[in-house]
Symmetry: D2
Subunit: 382 residues, 4 copies
Amino acid sequence: MAKEIGVGVLGYSIGRAHAHAWRDVAEVYYPMKLVPRLVALAGRTKKVVKFEAAKYGYAKTYSDWEKVVTDERVEIVDNCLPVALHPAPMIMAAKLGKSLFCEKPLARRATDAKRMLDAAEKAKVKHMVGYNYRFMPAITLARQMINKGKIGKITFFRGSYLTTNSTYDDPKTPMRWQFESSLSGYGALSDLGTHALDLARYLVGEVGAVAGAQSTIIKERPETEGARKKKRVNVDDLTVATMKFRNGALGTLETSWVNPGRMDYLSFEIYGTEGSLRFNLERINELEIFLSERDRGTSGYRTLNVLAKEHPYMGKYWVNQGGGFGWDHSFVNEFHHFLTSISDDRPVGPQGATFLDGYRNCQIMDAIADSAKSEAWVHIQE
Amino acid sequence: MAKEIGVGVLGYSIGRAHAHAWRDVAEVYYPMKLVPRLVALAGRTKKVVKFEAAKYGYAKTYSDWEKVVTDERVEIVDNCLPVALHPAPMIMAAKLGKSLFCEKPLARRATDAKRMLDAAEKAKVKHMVGYNYRFMPAITLARQMINKGKIGKITFFRGSYLTTNSTYDDPKTPMRWQFESSLSGYGALSDLGTHALDLARYLVGEVGAVAGAQSTIIKERPETEGARKKKRVNVDDLTVATMKFRNGALGTLETSWVNPGRMDYLSFEIYGTEGSLRFNLERINELEIFLSERDRGTSGYRTLNVLAKEHPYMGKYWVNQGGGFGWDHSFVNEFHHFLTSISDDRPVGPQGATFLDGYRNCQIMDAIADSAKSEAWVHIQE
Amino acid sequence: MAKEIGVGVLGYSIGRAHAHAWRDVAEVYYPMKLVPRLVALAGRTKKVVKFEAAKYGYAKTYSDWEKVVTDERVEIVDNCLPVALHPAPMIMAAKLGKSLFCEKPLARRATDAKRMLDAAEKAKVKHMVGYNYRFMPAITLARQMINKGKIGKITFFRGSYLTTNSTYDDPKTPMRWQFESSLSGYGALSDLGTHALDLARYLVGEVGAVAGAQSTIIKERPETEGARKKKRVNVDDLTVATMKFRNGALGTLETSWVNPGRMDYLSFEIYGTEGSLRFNLERINELEIFLSERDRGTSGYRTLNVLAKEHPYMGKYWVNQGGGFGWDHSFVNEFHHFLTSISDDRPVGPQGATFLDGYRNCQIMDAIADSAKSEAWVHIQE
Amino acid sequence: MAKEIGVGVLGYSIGRAHAHAWRDVAEVYYPMKLVPRLVALAGRTKKVVKFEAAKYGYAKTYSDWEKVVTDERVEIVDNCLPVALHPAPMIMAAKLGKSLFCEKPLARRATDAKRMLDAAEKAKVKHMVGYNYRFMPAITLARQMINKGKIGKITFFRGSYLTTNSTYDDPKTPMRWQFESSLSGYGALSDLGTHALDLARYLVGEVGAVAGAQSTIIKERPETEGARKKKRVNVDDLTVATMKFRNGALGTLETSWVNPGRMDYLSFEIYGTEGSLRFNLERINELEIFLSERDRGTSGYRTLNVLAKEHPYMGKYWVNQGGGFGWDHSFVNEFHHFLTSISDDRPVGPQGATFLDGYRNCQIMDAIADSAKSEAWVHIQE
């Protein structure tokens, strides 16, 4: 028989996509042992919190995240707040023995992430970071093919996340927390690049050293919409880096949110001794694969429509439909994975990203930023 | 204040996508005046009906569609049964004053569709046919651009729907109702081509005459999975036609479900005196547009990612996310449109497809099939 | 030892591409037994003829085509004149025992083409029609794959040739011989569609019956550049047709030179029981192939870059270079084929198009035009 | 009246593409003031030299390059030898007052390149390096658009050149001079990456600092075809780098010749404050442009087919033909530019690459290689 589990969500921005997925997961993966119930939502603006709660069916609303964390009915704390507000609620929730779900990146700096990891480990609770792209059919398929050795030994990874994040390319777009390092950690790197780095680790392996450079393209922005007064942006609009993986592969990372023309270009190309793989999020359900064959005359990249019943997760969706898998379903799959980890007491990794993954990711971001300042390669502590 | 409206669904195949959308619509379009409640589900196999009902939260299940239609709490009858079973339930429901939603095509032949249209009109109830692709951002945007005159006067329409419908290209795939004309009407034409014809009418206008040809590629199939005994397929696996629109444009239609390589290729290209548009469902969120410009040196097809807040429907979804709009959301938008038509007493057309559209569509299909037999152009009655 | 063979060219429009190829062929295919020498050029405007002759190294120029045909040093007559001027020079040249090369289409009507074929056959001279696309690596490869059975039995052919032929979409573009049926035969059909029909026959087989429709989009044009006086266009700007191949496959043809957005879109898709092939000339060196495989999870269209040494003709070019094979080289390959047919006394077909192919092609075009008038399928005489 | 100018070519490998272009340039650009004549060819293997000379019409052949350089009829020395053999012949030719054309990269190291530059400058002769991609319509168009400010201030450059150079991904492919640093300088970096760096400089500006990493994927290869004995490869199969341009833009370079799936992927993406541009050589005649527009609802990348008469160089070719511009024509345009520089005494730069460009390019390559060793950013001397 299905049991209910109470979910408390902090924040209603990306929190909307979470709430939608918490609502849908038990239907898509019916029957599940644990069925999530939206218990409480916390957020800054009262009116919005009320609206969102009504929309998604939350039982209670608060303006203070502590109230959610300490609410007895909340068994999973799902943290969608600005990055600077990741550690405190997660550490408090860990101490209370609750399951931890945290949006990416785990923290502003690796030191904070380490504290969160330690708290979670000490409390022996389940912990997961919201690297939802791991749960897309095309990307999970990529991992399966790599693990089966289809492209041989990996030699080269190209990862990027390039967007204009709606209107970040417009100097009139005002300040927001993402442009404040005290709240966000880094800029495009923390918001977008972190996803590409997670895929690097998920698909290729640990990164040993990096050399990076960063720039702020739009150096100041109006304090608020339409304001004359401007404020200095102190994070990167653009970060580039070269990487050395511990397994010998080389890699590059490119991330920017001021890239006119790109809408949501999270992409990777992975080359191995026997083939290669390509993906980009703007064509979410396509994976391009090249498998070295004896007959070079008929070899070429294949474009897979990763929507057939043979593909990861698709058994639960509408197979063979163009666009049958949308962005929102990555959250559904992710939460199914997390709920199953809890109900069956199975490890979240390596398919899901744990706080250890979140910490490793922060280490790489710190190293890139350090390298950009020191103009030297930075080796990452194992 | 929101009011509830009872929905009864007949059939659980495409009915799954409907149930999902009936459940999600009130969340996505919150707040709505009318909130659908899944009241009753009818289906052939008891065990499956039970499972589906539990999954989607239907209050009751029946094995007989009449029970659903006559259930007092059912105010909308949503017909997802095989085509041959479209007329009777819809006509009965009309007589009972219920709102009518019917999957495509409306009927096996235009004569049946006409009876359904007449019944609905006589009963003065709302009626809609499930041409859900009208409710995709890229396609609605195409219509808006055409209506604004962006591509001038339309001269040429190329429409196609080519798939392998999972495994229809495999001769071992057994008989199913789609292969039986007494149940389905036509083959690929009724199942897929009908969508392309609807887009022809939605985007270009009424079709005046057609010349067509049809073939059955896999002439017989096992009676059931693995059976030795075979049964003759009496519908088209492939239909091609040329069309003359009443406004002078010419067109082509190509549809097949035995097209190795194609997964879900519903496509159109529309040429006008001032530009052109291209779409295919395998890249669900892209619309390609060409606008004739004085400077031919910098003119070219633009690939729009139709996922920005400026695009139709996207205000209700996650904007600027690659794949932020999935196939299932077309049903959500469609049901929102239907529910609003009911709550605000507004016409379903021309944005939504009414039974009149369903009837016109059947007329064209009949004409194509007639033409294929007579080897002459067939003019369609106005 | 190489022997020279004298070439006389009639016309300097597409004649430029011919002259270039006659000059290059002996270098690209070095060593050849027969080396072409440009002996004489005929053309209407004296000044242009002189310029072209100097550019390409023709020994002599004439304003009258008869002078070229009867010039004793001319052993190959290469006819690049408007279509209405194809029969007379070719028939005269045949009687003089010269080798015949004629641009496409062979004639305005099949009856004329038949006379040309008969003359050539009677004179026992080599004859070839300029369907140069047969000599592109991607297209020859397509034929090889089909012949090896890679895509099984062919069921469906989609062919199109859509362009704006530079500025034909502009109503200010003045009359030219292509818009006069007395000179050209048909419009887009004769100029472009004929190529797609040739590929249909080259790749799929003989066409048995057609149903077509035609329209003239820009009904009148200035008599000359900038002229106020207009003249009626009496050919098709757009032709669509459905086709029945003698082997049971169905097909479509779409051709237009008023297609804003298309530059040079000669395309085909060929579906068989075991796979499919796609090509379009705007991506001249790519062939997309789908081969049905047991594992549907990793099957998809492969994009071949047909530029490797394993690919047809490429041994003579710069292999593995993006764009290593350009449009002009199709003429080089074509002339090599023709010269080898002469030097080694080998048949021009089935790789090259003979006057029989030219005649068959005209039959289909006549049938499409007849069908467009009669509104009935037209069966083609075998 | 046209004058002839004698050309002596050293080497017959890429020398074939040169010879072809020297032969064609006077036809394509007819009438030219200076018409090249192929006077002498030098090459290692006598039999091949003889064959090539006969094929392209060279008057004389030598096995020793000095003979070509000192041949009195040779006025242009075109150096297609392995990189290590670039300096000596060019310096000797400079002293003899001959015009200098040298394949890329100019030299193994910047110090050698500097000597060549100094010699050329001192002798006041014309000098050019074979960065032929500058002379492709799509790439020249990119430069024109950038110079007109169409994409605003450049912020980010992504350049790559990824191939398998036919079979370099195969460990059985034996040693050749490209794998020997004493002959080639670097590996993929010298052979391919140098082109991407040239485009970086041509399109964006001077590079100020780099951080790079290199790896050798196939560490040893058979000494000769099929040999058991293996030899160590001492150059990079893969080089990645991040770059800081002097104008503030950031950039990345990725180059490898062991990239299964890539045939000839020279690519760039350039982002500016107002738009972006994309190109890749596998689609040689396409340029993708994004121009920021007020209406985000209809903005998207445009795919230009750079084959119209409005596009650079195309007035000399067959306009509006798919594939009307092939790879070989870039050499034709390049030689036309060089010959015109000589005949009209005009500077080779900035459109053509001079020995100064060749030297700057070598500086960047040296800096990348140094950085890969030192694990620190290397600043380039101005």
